[in-house]
Amino acid sequence: MVTAILEFWQDRCGLDLRSLAVARVLAGLLTLADVILRGLHLREFYTEAGLLPRPLALQLHPSLSFPSLHIANDTVAYVSLLFVIHGAVGVGLLLGYRTQVCSVLVWVLTMSIQARNPLVLNGGDILFSAILFWGMFLPWGKVWSLDARSTEPPKHCKVFSAATVGLTFQMVTLYFFASLHKLEPAWLQEGSAVYYALSIEHFATPAAEILLRHPELHRWMTWSVLGFELVAGFLLLSTRPVVRTLGVFGCVLLHFGFGAFLELGMFRWFPMIGLLALLPSELWARDKTSVSDEMRKSPVTVMLLLVTALTFAINIDSLGKQKHHLIPNTIREFAPVFASWQSWNVFTGQTLYASGWYGIEIRTKSGAHYDVFRDDKPFSNKKPRYVSRDYPTQRWRKWTMISSSLLKPGPLKQHVLKWWLERWNERHPDDPAEKVQYWYFHEKTYENFRDAPTEKLLLGEYP
């Protein structure tokens, strides 16, 4: 009985070593890219001189989600050093040099930087850290790596272990629960979700504007996204190579489709790591494949299976359908360490209907008004041509959107406004600032392109 169950899952969750190696290379590349993109704004987001200095970060939560190395010291020099190390171990992972050590270090450093500033994260980052967690236990350096040159080639080309089960289930969970969250009127009866999503101007690319002009397509696109996400999980679990491959490429296409119309940063790349790992063996060689069964009775196996179960249960909790949470709060507190604290409710609920843009107005001593949010151009109430281009990187977009929602009166608000004011004064010593005002131009999206009034909301001012 047990053997039958194990064999059933072995066919579905056994992963090919070469697919894993490809996934590893992508993981290394993305680590490097992530570090470089974050590094562009290192001072602003991760140091004492930035928008979220350490005391403020500590005040946000009594405990960070991870023992963060990035909180141990707050100077630009130290954080830069960590970034360099982070990039280096990313390259190590890419090349497969001491893969085991590099995998652990990449995971630690990624978790660590995510804990340092949680206000710049999006769903993609959560998925990335989850994949890196499984990576620590996956044999993804066995082939096509520097490590492989000094060891004998493995006898089996597929491997089945608790970690392969965990990674497979993580990917299945992602699409399945994303679709369950979408079972709401905008996605089902109305089929208007694509229209609303494209109207969120923080994200919309110029291509989105073109697509918006073709309302006849919206309904079909909405339903096909939902339909595909519902079945994607089952395609990925299929034992037939063709179906599995179709599933993988379908998902990749889905993410690139999102990426074409919505600026989501690296969100489209992170799932690809997990998807590539699921590619079937038959893609690499025609011959009969053998599986190495590494599902042993060990504490690690038990722990990894528990993490898989925890992830699944927290996803069920995130649907909010039942009265009580399946997972008690004491355990939920530890869930972020395994990146299990996830809720794939992207582009659902109230967030679909809110659009708008930000402005940070500086009034100078000479009486002029500038918008520091837009390269110190003169301030105006006019809507920018493309709101999504206001943000240099995805991190800025998430920071602005999340921190603004936190801008209740308090130390964070004071600090953010003061930071912008001081930044102005540093750059323009000849015309010092007198006052800074943080504005949000709120534009609710109504159905069928109905015109909406623009509300100008004052989020805060200093002094």
Binding site: R54, L58, P62, S63, S68, L69, I71, A72, N73, T75
Partner: protein, 497 residues
Amino acid sequence: VISRLALDLRSLAVFRIGLGAVLLFDLGRRSVEISTFLTDQGFTPRLLILDHYWSDFWWCLHLFTGTLPGAIFLLVVHGLLALALMVGFQTRWTALACYLATLSLHNRNPLVLDSGDRLLVLLLFWGLFIPWESRWSLDARKRDSGHYPASNSFSCPGTTGYLLQVCVMYLMAGYWKLHPIWLTEMSGVYRALMLEEFSTGLGVWLLQFPVLMKVLTLGTVVIELLGPFLLLVGNGRMRLLGVFLLASLHLGIALTMDLESFPLVSLVALLGLLPSTVWRLLLGDKEAEQGDPASSPGTNWCRGRIASSLAVLAITAIISWNAMMLLLGNRTNATLPPSLGWYSQTLGAFRLVQMWNLFSPVPRQESNRFFVEALLADGRRVDLWRNGKTLTFRPETLASAEYPTHHHRTFLHHLAYSGHPDLQRRFLRVLAYRWNSQHDDSERVLMVRLVFLFTPVKLHYRDSVPTIGQAAIHWPDPSDWVGPPVPLPRPESGLVP
């Protein structure tokens, strides 16, 4: 010269085990004060430390959490690392982790650090460059015999640094005591034992023997100045004598003064210097200690280029630091010119900064007791520092026994003499809050203040009479006081208010 500086690998193994044990002991005593000193609910929340007691060069992982479960988690992990160091599991990595964890713990709350703590982290630092896993460790058991040096006598830059560190400590301590108080008046030990917040019962009892006091004073100076040279002359009997003399000095201190971990850490530091002679006697080892230990077979990582140069750099750093203290110090107060601030900050980042002027040149001229006087809503006055007993300025107990741990003593001393006002207010508020959360509203605290009881040290112990200090810290601020202000007890009215 190199063979004279050589240490015995078995002694180093004992040093490793002892240091792990002392670290465990230290963590054990911290476990009773964990909510007081290591969480955001205690006297020293993270933000207060960051605001007033932080250096940009410091490194502290403990900042990531301010909750009690988080602090317990970190302490347990730290304890496991100490255990791993004791048994010698993956020793090089474990030693690094132990050092970093201890550094981090110390930076989390620098206000409680005592001399034992400072020495402990220094020794953990030197441990990074010492092959102390070569004997009696899991590592040594796992590897084949050729991996570690066969000869027991061993020297590398790391072991030399460790030896020099210990010698420098005693030399400097002896140097600071070259003062009339210790040399001609010979009252150094007497004055130290008069500090009632430190003295044990035995220490207080010894005060009545003036001649003994003088002998002990001179003995201390002689041992501290002579001991290091005995340690340096070679891996033989003279070093054993040096270890014995210095160890007896520490035993004497441990019996008469309550310094908690300091004597223990110092004894462990001396254990690592035990010469091969001891092991030959104990184990009946017939191994001939001939030949140049530097040419013993097998290359060892701690003679490698990186480890060697780092160790040499560290040796240069501590020697030059202590030399600078020697040159700059006017024997009472050594301060660096501001242009060398970067130097002390860099050394401070690794906690290599050291000042060995304990109780010297002149021990403090007054001893003190603290009282946290609280006025309750029902009119009673209680002492929050002594578990809410009715306030009396004539406590029956030994002063040194009034502190749950040595860290409380260090902390309270800093708080009272040079604490930041925020810290002082926080301290009184936390004590008041704790009382209020355990008592009815009718017994709630209306106001709190910290009162000192000074006892000036006089040359005859019977002449020392306690007086009540004027300097007191209040909470709430005097202007916010509820009810009529209560006058402080006047000195002439005796000790009972």
